[in-house]
């Protein structure tokens, strides 16, 4: 059926037709085809901050000062200006309006980091229900740290990592959680995952998943720590039932050290190994074949399994965690192609491993292909997150995936590459409708919903309508209007799209600490 793309026609249609059941939001979102951020103010005069992102409800713009000590929060407002002339619609904006301040109002500036600490500028998690923000500050990272007290060898450490819970409305710090001599992967919030009010923080150095709850009152409450032990009272239980070894303790010096250098497997490893063992055990019924099978598949690799470390974690729902295990060197390097990795689904309540896959598992890949949205576990009541395009909810994204799949010569490599994105990072995707692939087509090499810095080229980034007449709807160009004079310097661009308004910021940086070029893209 032919539908006009004209905004007036669409408004009229909205008035007289009821959309098919369940599609009213999709129908409303089509208006974004008509309302696009096509007007650009180049190189806007703005405070020299590093802009992090818009919160997912569009209420706040988060930015950090250049010295990485202060948090500055803005409220996005819509531009308003007055104009004396008659034909002000066609005229250029008055220069007074072309300012950062006409789009943003500063709410407050809070110092988060003390002198020896820095705000981790890649880290920010928004708790939408309460409009809380989670920030991280840390002292500098120390490599080649000796492993002491149960720490893993080969993992660097940070003397002090502090997580700050802030009420974004007024910038009041509600609670803090400090990790001493530990290592949490803060880049792109990789080591932390939020689901509803539950927070999972992965201590790489001590191989512990800390589950915290964010209360409405603004407190961070420990729920459990998974690693050495599985249930929250295991350690208490162990200490209240001490096994007193008679033969080598004569000095009465023993309680309260339940983990002396014993060779016991950690709680999570025991669960993992017994799951693998049970699986192989059940595979074969014949006793002789079974033991052969165990010997080859289990005992031979036993030490490799024991040496695996928890690398990244995400929630699948309130009870299940998807845990990625890998080797120590695989955990720290970015290139994971060569390292073997494993995925385990762990139920926190029953303390059982539910599933276990290698990163070359085709079974897991097909699950990922068909049910990708189930891996994007976000809070239940976050409506905007339902519209982030993925290959399981969007035909165009699926087509793209199939195309990539056919292009790759070696299927196992493709599987590994795809599964490398699991577990997902928390809140790494922009809910902006301009990234909805059922509305717009764009070059994913240059721009995408995923929150990443990208190497900037002088190309215009085009957003083309998915529907007829497939016309160019708007263009985004980072950097100065005239293009850069120096073609050789490497430039990095970041794009911050407002989740609701036709409004975006593009920030282009050169590597030499020069002030960045900020462009504002909006609808006039």
């Amino acid at each position: 059926m032919f539908r006009s793309n004209n905004v007036a026609a669409r408004t009229f249609e909205r008035q007289i037709c009821t959309p098919s059941p369940g599609t009213s939001i999709q129908r409303a979102r089509r208006f974004y085809e008509n309302l696009v951020p096509s007007c650009t103010i180049y190189d806007v005069e703005c405070p020299d901050h590093s802009f992090r992102k818009f919160t997912d409800d569009g209420q706040y713009l988060i930015s950090f000062s250049r010295n990485h000590q202060d948090l500055i929060v803005y409220r996005p407002t819509w531009l308003s200006f007055s104009c004396k002339d008659e034909d002000c619609d066609t005229r250029d904006l008055p220069s007074k309006a072309k300012k950062f301040e006409s789009f943003f109002t500063q709410l407050y500036c809070v110092q988060l980091a003390s002198t020896s600490e820095f705000i981790c500028k890649d880290f920010f998690i928004y708790i939408e229900n309460n409009q809380f923000g989670l920030f991280a500050t840390s002292t500098t990272q120390i490599h080649d740290a000796p492993a002491a007290g149960g720490a893993i060898q080969g993992i660097p450490y940070i003397e002090k990592i502090t997580f700050h819970l802030l009420r974004l409305e007024d910038g009041v710090i509600l609670d803090e959680r400090v990790f001493h001599n530990d290592y949490v992967n803060l880049a792109h919030s990789m080591g932390v995952y939020l689901y509803d009010d539950l927070l999972a923080i992965v201590s790489l150095r001590y191989q512990t998943i800390h589950i915290l709850q964010i209360r409405d009152s603004g407190n961070l409450v420990d729920v459990r720590a998974i690693g050495e032990f599985c249930s929250e009272d295991d350690e208490l239980f162990l200490n209240s039932n001490p096994q007193v070894p008679v033969n080598h303790v004569g000095n009465g010096l023993q309680p309260n050290q339940s983990i002396p250098n014993s060779s016991f497997l950690s709680g999570i490893k025991q669960r993992l190994l017994s799951f693998i063992f049970r699986g192989i055990w059940a595979e074969e019924t014949d006793q002789t074949l079974r033991i052969q099978c165990l010997k080859k598949k289990f005992y031979f690799h036993f030490q490799d399994y024991v040496d695996l470390i928890i690398w990244k974690v995400q929630f699948l729902d309130r009870h299940h965690l998807l845990i990625k295990f890998g080797s120590v060197d695989g955990g720290m390097s970015r290139n994971v192609d060569h390292h073997r990795a494993f995925f385990a689904v762990y139920n926190m309540e029953t303390t059982k491993v539910v599933a276990f896959y290698q990163n070359s598992s085709e079974e897991l890949y097909f699950l990922f292909e068909q049910f990708c949205d189930h891996f994007h576990a976000t809070s239940k009541n976050s409506l905007s997150m339902n519209f982030i395009s993925s290959h399981s909810n969007n035909i165009h994204a699926l087509e793209q995936l199939r195309c990539n799949k056919n292009k790759s010569n070696i299927f196992p490599q493709f599987v590994k590459k795809m599964l490398a994105s699991l577990p997902f990072s928390c809140q790494s995707q922009s809910p902006s409708p301009y990234f909805d692939q059922s509305l717009f087509r764009f070059d994913e090499k240059l721009i995408s919903a995923t929150d990443r810095h990208r190497q900037s080229t002088d190309h215009l980034i085009k957003f083309i309508a998915r529907r007829q007449p497939y016309s160019l709807k708007f263009k985004i160009k980072p950097g100065p209007e005239a293009g850069s004079t120096d073609g050789r310097t490497k430039k990095i661009s970041t794009f911050l799209f407002h989740p609701i308004l036709p409004f975006a910021l593009s920030v282009q940086q050169t590597l030499f600490l020069q002030p960045s070029v900020v462009n504002i893209h909006f609808r006039r």
Partner: protein, 186 residues
């Protein structure tokens, strides 16, 4: 895998760095090899074991335990280079100081509530010490550890508290053992 361990064991440890480099390596290696094939042919129920990686002298065993209902217990088994003959006492003394025995070290990697297993997981079993005989095999040891589950040696305990409870209040002991299993051995 079977053949690869076979050749390296016969060659007397050409590439295995961690192997003891005594002349008896080959003899003990052959013996362990034979025990492995015997174990494979006639495995005891609810037990299994095999070498860790390609090191013939380090094994892992798994026991599925009762009354430690549904527990999966992993054990490390380390063979001395002089296996199956008694080792010089000093070699074993590194671990315990004053015991003598088979030199065969059996250590639980899974926490267990048992009067014959100390707080670091070392199994204290008569046949691993004074009653060791070169005629015993790894299958026999596994069976002994397994029967230890149902019949603990309460008269030679390493954790007297557990032994006392076992003798005084069996039901309570079993209940606690089951809870340990639930918490640490699932």
């Amino acid at each position: 895998m079977n053949s690869s361990t076979g050749t390296s064991a016969g060659g007397g440890g050409g590439r295995g760095k961690s192997w003891p480099s005594t002349t008896s390596v080959s003899a003990s290696g052959k013996r362990i090899q034979k025990e492995m094939s015997d174990l494979n042919l006639d495995p005891p129920s609810d037990c299994s074991a095999g070498p860790k990686g390609d090191n013939l002298y380090h094994w892992v065993a798994t026991l599925i335990g009762t009354p430690y209902e549904d527990g999966i217990f992993f054990l490390d088994i380390t063979f001395p280079s002089e296996y199956p003959f008694k080792p010089p006492e000093a070699a074993f003394g590194l671990v315990h100081g004053f015991e003598k025995g088979s030199g065969l070290q059996v250590v639980f990697r899974t926490r267990i509530y048992h009067c014959n297993v100390d707080s670091t997981g070392n199994v204290s079993l008569d046949i691993l010490k004074d009653s060791w005989s070169p005629a015993l095999t790894i299958s026999k040891v596994l069976l002994a550890v397994k029967s230890m589950f149902t019949n603990p040696d309460t008269y030679n305990p390493v954790v007297p508290g557990i032994a006392r409870l076992y003798l005084a209040d069996r039901a309570k002991h079993d209940e606690l053992a089951a809870e340990w299993t639930l918490r640490f051995a699932r």
